[in-house]
Symmetry: C2
Subunit: 134 residues, 2 copies
């Protein structure tokens, strides 16, 4: 079976809470993770909640990375959804485990867009050369 | 066991390809889905790829909605990640199935942030009253 995308659901437990509260560190970590994985970044959006907690998304040509942090529980939920053969989602996951200093991470991999069951390979994009931000 | 969040992985197959190519329709659908589910929208980011295909994210106070469309395959991958008891992720999923005219949708529900195994309830946010866009 061929899938259009790979989606890693990353549970980062026992992280460093001070990092999870720091908007710039969290944003830099996700942006760097995308670059480490050879992704093409299209847009970045990060937000800080009151009294703490951060949500952020990095839209990439190959789909997206997202993070939601709960500093009060030393926990962050990360999603890394990628398509194509060039990008390495596991590299992004490994990088973030290190950046957030998670002592007990877990990673579950899901395949998205399994549309063919006869071995037919379905290219994920006919052409990805250009993206227009709107 | 108590989870901080609910994450619906929605596979929308056999959609209307013309809708999946239309940036405004896709964006309006996701924004409306978030509102139908009683979410608080923080930020919206949608992008069109060449020759077609749309990626979009709606950051909400309660986490996020995302969509990636493959009009050439009449398929869209949607994620609805929510926290708390007020928001109804299944309402958003049902709404999008209708908006994209998916004939064969599937929804898988994952729990995120299961940190306690002794029945202890862990509130998902100490306070969500304010979000600062950065």
């Amino acid at each position: 079976m061929y899938a259009l995308g790979t989606h890693l659901l990353v549970e980062l437990r026992d992280c460093n809470p001070e990092i999870l509260k720091d908007l710039n560190r969290v944003k830099d970590a996700l942006v760097s993770a995308a670059k480490e994985a050879k992704a093409t970044i299209i847009d970045v959006s990060f937000h800080e909640f009151n009294p703490f907690g951060i949500s952020g998304m990095v839209v990439i040509a190959e789909s997206h990375l997202s993070v939601h942090t709960w500093p009060e529980y030393a926990y962050a939920a990360v999603d890394i959804f990628t398509c194509g053969d060039i990008i390495k989602p596991e590299v992004a996951a490994q990088y973030l485990i290190g950046q957030f200093e998670s002592k007990t991470p877990s990673v579950v991999e899901m395949k998205r867009g399994i549309l063919s069951f006869d071995g037919e390979r379905m290219p994920h994009k006919i052409e990805c050369a250009e993206a227009a931000a709107v």
